[in-house]
């Protein structure tokens, strides 16, 4: 071995490389132990959160349900003409017939109704009627012209004909719908809507030289037919179709992604003319966010007020006594949330224990029983009780580390009790207040169960609205957007918590 060469390990490789290899192996092994859980959490928890974020902007329903209309409206300039051209009405008619068959038009109506009230019923009404438009006259006329037009095979041969784009697309969708129904397209006659497309295509292609004899014959014939106006038929169903605002709304929400839900969470809406605030009676979310923040602050403050003396007592008693008292803090912490909420419901209601007691003492008379539930008071009392252990425990663990000699030193130097506490002890306990406050605040702003049960209408939080949109109004996009806003607030606080306390230092149960 040369004296100035690299130091070698036992197997002859340079020691440096050998060490690096061992370190890599160790890193890999540690990572492999963590990997299963990481994958598990990514699938069961992170993916759902990502899905929610995605849903808060996703809006493909318009494009998927009425693709032809979306396409046709792209070139429509609301400034230039009052209503979209007949071609757009016809495209919408085609879309609507298929959407109605697939039972998708009501879902789209509900979606657009979030942006403009009335569209939901408009869609439902139109869905019922589109099957009975006068386009059957086209179907009859084509059949009279040539019996082959009743045959699916004829249309099969038209697919790919550049002169007949609408027919090809309408026929393809019709075929798909028939197949979805487990029927054989060959034994079915195409619907009127396909003949309407064929008529329109042939009218468009009047100047084109068609080589196919049957097509050329039809091309010559259609020019003499009485046209059926789809726009008149639709406006006859409901005169709202003559309202350009409806078409503008469809145009505005045609994109696959929309900021609409987020604007809605801020009481704004995206209108054809830009972002505007919602009508007065629909503005609820700003108020709700403000209320959630305000009540969470009140709850946090109450837990500090109640938790501080208790934590102080626990930290300054001999360990034997402190442990007994700590059980009184830990028992509520371990008791089911539902148990604590139900006991508050029992205690606070007008025929409940507290009111009975007050009447019995004579503080209030029987008629003047206090209303302490189904309002903000109920939520604040119950949630302060439920979250109090989360304040006491971090405060206690910080206060335990403050040496009692500090206070004695301050007093021996002439400080009064108050000065010694305020100038010496309190500043030392601030990290505990910080940790406890952030924890309580994070938990409070996302609470659902307790406000739902004791909050009535005035004491509910933003989470109750999210739940409402998921299970009752079925406006999932808005629920996702509200959830995303709430999540952003919580993550910001989580970041702050990490900076103040450190995630590694989270302690459970004393």
């Amino acid at each position: 071995m040369s004296v100035d060469g690299p130091v070698l390990a036992a197997d002859g490789t340079p020691l440096k490389r050998s060490l690096a290899k061992a370190l890599r192996r160790e890193k890999f092994r540690a990572f492999m132990l963590v990997a299963p859980l990481l994958v598990f959490i990514l699938i069961t928890f992170v993916a759902p959160i990502a899905d929610m974020l995605f849903r808060s902007v996703e809006n493909s329903i318009v494009r998927d349900t009425i693709p032809r209309t979306v396409q046709a409206l792209r070139t429509w300039d609301p400034e230039a003409s009052e209503l979209p051209p007949e071609a757009t009405f016809s495209a919408f008619y085609t879309d609507m017939v298929f959407a109605e068959e697939r039972k998708q038009h009501t879902r789209l109506g509900t979606r657009l109704n979030y942006e403009k009230t009335g569209i939901s019923s408009l869609f439902r009404k139109s869905g019922r009627r589109v099957g009975r438009f006068d386009t059957d006259e086209y179907a009859k006329a084509f059949a009279d012209l040539n019996a082959a037009w009743e045959d699916t095979a004829t249309f099969e041969g038209l697919v790919g004909n550049a002169a007949l784009p609408e027919t090809a697309s309408a026929y393809a969708t019709w075929r798909a719908v028939i197949l979805e129904d487990d029927k054989d397209p060959a034994s079915e006659a195409p619907w009127d809507v396909v003949y309407n497309a064929l008529y329109r295509d042939l009218m468009q292609a009047q100047s084109v030289e068609l080589t196919d004899a049957m097509l050329a014959e039809a091309q010559a014939a259609v020019a003499t037919w009485e046209p059926v106006s789809i726009s008149e038929a639709l406006i006859d169903v409901d005169e709202d179709w003559a309202d350009p605002e409806v078409w503008k709304t469809i145009q505005t929400y045609a994109a696959s992604y929309t900021p609409g839900y987020f604007l809605n969470s801020a009481d704004l809406q995206l209108t054809p003319d830009g972002i505007e605030s919602r009508p007065e009676n629909e503005r609820i979310y700003i108020t709700l966010f403000q209320r959630t923040l305000f009540m969470s602050l009140v709850i946090t403050f109450s837990t500090i007020l109640l938790g501080y003396p208790v934590a102080w007592l626990l930290a300054n008693l001999p360990a034997r006594h402190a442990n007994v008292l700590l059980i009184l803090v830990l028992l509520p912490f371990w008791t089911s949330l539902l148990v604590r909420t139900s006991s508050w419901k029992v205690l606070l209601q007008q025929q409940g224990v507290i009111n009975d007691l007050l009447v019995w003492i004579g503080l209030i008379d029987d008629a003047g029983r206090l209303v302490m539930i189904n309002n903000q008071t109920g939520t604040i009392i119950a949630m302060t009780h439920i979250l109090l252990p989360f304040m006491i425990l971090p405060l206690y663990s910080v206060m335990k580390t403050i040496p009692p000699s500090y206070l004695r030193a301050a007093k021996s130097l002439g400080a009064t009790n108050w000065t010694a506490f305020w100038r010496v002890y309190f500043p030392n306990s601030v990290p505990g207040i910080g940790a406890g406050s952030i924890l309580v605040f994070i938990l409070a702003i996302g609470y659902y169960i307790t406000p739902e049960l004791v909050g009535g209408t005035q004491g509910v939080f933003i989470s109750n609205r999210i739940a409402y949109h998921i299970s009752s109004s079925l406006n999932w996009g808005l629920a996702a957007a509200l959830g995303t806003v709430l999540l952003a607030a919580v993550l910001l606080l989580y970041y702050a918590y990490d900076k103040v306390v450190g995630i590694d230092n989270v302690k459970l149960g004393g």
Binding site: K27, A30, V34, K345, L443, V490, K507
Partner: protein, 284 residues
């Protein structure tokens, strides 16, 4: 404030006792709501308050009828059964994955340790309603919504942070030379894990498991969205009961749950002390 010094002034004495009274009241506020439902659950009437018969300690004022209702009513029994089949399975998953990961995280060289830790703890921080909403959306996409396994997976995810935190805390005091000694005596890693490391961190694993269990057993928001009527758990049944037809059986169930939490709390406390003793720390 351990006792008043003999030279305390009257003002100090008054403050000393006032402070104790205030603390006593706060403790009362903490514990009374839980204790008050216990006598109420033995009410012979369908009331949620003390009847005159109860206040005069008349035996006729008390009865076990709400408990009988709980044990005979099919809805309650079904929800109890759902709870005891969901929670252990979720706990098993959390403890299995969580313990492995905690051991991995306690190694000296883990890449992206902070980021991984943040992700693993996040189910505890993200508000339940948001987890529930996300899981509802995602699990309906993949067909897990309304199934037993959907609820189990969701609850396992919620329990994992607790397992990670408790097991990591036990591992902080773990003497790594023990595993080296075991290896030098010829034990392979698997034997070392089960014979040396596991017995020492067992208290942490068990208390983590108890946390995970109680998380699943008490959880209502997520199961409300991810589950369907077939997965109705005990808290869900209580929630429905409180919201719709409020029946005193809820108080009987609540009392049983309080008893369960007392047992769990005692177990955790014993385990914590044992763990500290094993690691050579004096129990505080």
């Amino acid at each position: 404030m351990s006792g008043l010094p003999p030279y305390a002034t009257t003002g100090q004495r008054i403050w000393y006792y006032t402070f104790r009274v205030i603390c006593g009241l706060i403790f009362f506020f903490l514990i009374a709501p839980i204790l008050v439902i216990i006598p109420l659950s033995f009410n012979a009437e369908d009331f949620f308050t003390f009847t005159p018969a109860m206040l005069s300690l008349d035996p006729d004022g008390y009865s076990l009828k709400h408990y009988r209702d709980f044990f005979t009513n099919r809805d309650w029994q079904q929800s109890l059964w759902n709870s005891v089949t969901i929670a252990p399975m979720a706990t098993l998953l959390s403890v299995g994955f969580g313990t492995l990961a905690a051991i991995g995280l306690s190694q000296p060289h883990v890449p992206f340790r902070r980021a991984i830790m943040a992700i693993l703890i996040s189910p505890m921080i993200v508000p339940l309603i948001i987890s529930a909403a996300g899981m509802f959306f995602f699990y309906s996409r993949v067909g897990l919504q309304g199934t037993y396994w959907g609820v189990v997976l969701a609850h396992a995810a919620l329990g994992i942070p607790f397992v990670i935190i408790t097991v990591t805390a036990t591992l902080v005091g773990f003497d790594r030379s023990l595993t080296r000694a075991s290896a030098s005596l010829g034990a392979d890693p698997v034997t070392t894990f089960f014979k040396v490391q596991m017995p020492l961190i067992l208290p942490g694993v068990i208390s983590g498991g108890l946390f995970a269990f109680i998380t699943s057993f008490d959880e209502v928001v997520v199961v409300l969205f991810v589950g369907s009527a077939g997965q109705k758990t005990l808290p869900w049944q209580m929630f429905t009961g409180l919201r719709e037809q409020i029946s005193p059986t809820i108080l009987a169930v609540a009392t049983i749950l309080v008893a369960i939490s007392i047992v769990l709390l005692a177990t955790i406390e014993i385990l914590r002390r044992r763990s500290e003793r094993l690691r050579g720390m004096s129990p505080s």
